[in-house]
């Protein structure tokens, strides 16, 4: 673990930024059910841009149990901003979890124009 580790905790949601062996990970845990996540989640993920600019980052949703529809907006917005900042973002989800499969398959189909973003099912 490096000193560049950060965690956002909002109620039962935790988003952890970690670096290991030169690789960066943003891992979502718990449930995202807050009323207005755009400022808090978006702000946290945006604050990481200087740290990961022009690097690779894996955004891992597999441990996330649930997210409300309000959470999807800041996620899409940050995908666009990371793409513009030259951050190579790999989004990973669990295809055995029905809601993750539906949400991220849909996100994959609309984000093909983001050259630096890829979405991988495991």
């Amino acid at each position: 673990m490096s000193p560049e580790n950060h965690t956002l905790t909002l109620d039962e949601l935790q988003i952890r930024f970690t670096t290991e062996d030169g690789k960066s990970f943003i891992t979502w845990h718990g449930t995202s059910e807050i009323q207005d996540p755009a400022a808090s989640i978006g702000g946290f993920l945006r604050s990481l841009i200087p740290v990961i600019q022009e690097k690779r980052v894996t955004m891992d949703f597999r441990p996330l149990e649930y997210m409300n529809s309000a959470t999807i907006q800041p996620l899409l917005q940050i995908m666009r901003e990371y793409n513009a900042a030259g951050i190579f973002t790999e989004i990973v989800y669990d295809a055995n979890i029905e809601w993750q499969r539906i949400v991220f398959r849909s996100v994959a189909s609309i984000s093909t124009t983001l050259a630096n973003v890829s979405i991988r099912r495991v």
């Binding site: 009323q35 409300n68 529809s69 309000a70 907006q73 666009r80 029905e98 849909s106 609309i110 984000s111």
Partner: protein, 155 residues
């Protein structure tokens, strides 16, 4: 079997989580996908009622109801309406879904709008209920009270 639970919706965001857990518990004997979808639907509709609803003389209290029969689960949320704009947006989305055989199209279009940044606010919940949750939606607007009804077969 017929089970029905009615609750008043307080103006407290914590209730969104509580009602989702209550719905999942009510449907504990059903498959995971039904239980998850119904919890999501309850969460989205109650969240909308708290965010966009209003207490009026004719609708002093927002209300939630879940009914489960052998064949269907029905989730119903009623509340006063804060703005005509919101009422028009919600009813337009429900009408779109009701008249379509391809609910995914509307869900993807909204995601695309959010990704492109041309539209603020999520306003994805209604499409998510119809597409991801596979619930049919209908509404009434009577005496300034908006009632949204979400129904899914249990077969």
């Amino acid at each position: 079997m017929h089970k029905s639970i009615k609750m008043d919706i307080p103006v407290a965001w914590q209730f969104v989580k509580n009602v989702k857990l209550m719905v999942e518990e009510t449907l504990r004997s059903y498959p995971d996908n039904i239980r998850y979808s119904a919890g999501m639907v309850a969460s989205e509709l109650v969240g909308n009622a708290i965010k966009y609803g209003d207490r009026t003389e004719s609708a002093p209290q927002a209300k939630f109801e879940i009914s489960v029969t052998d064949s269907h689960v029905v989730i119903e949320v009623s509340n006063g309406v804060r703005s005509v704009d919101h009422l028009e947006q919600v009813t337009k989305r429900i009408d779109e879904l009701a008249g379509s055989t391809n609910k995914e199209e509307f869900y993807l279009r909204r995601l695309q709008e959010l990704l492109s940044g041309v539209s603020q606010g999520s306003q994805l919940g209604i499409y998510r209920i119809g597409y991801e949750g596979e619930f049919d939606l209908s509404y009434t607007f009577v005496n300034q009270i908006l009632t949204i009804k979400a129904t899914r077969g249990l077969s």
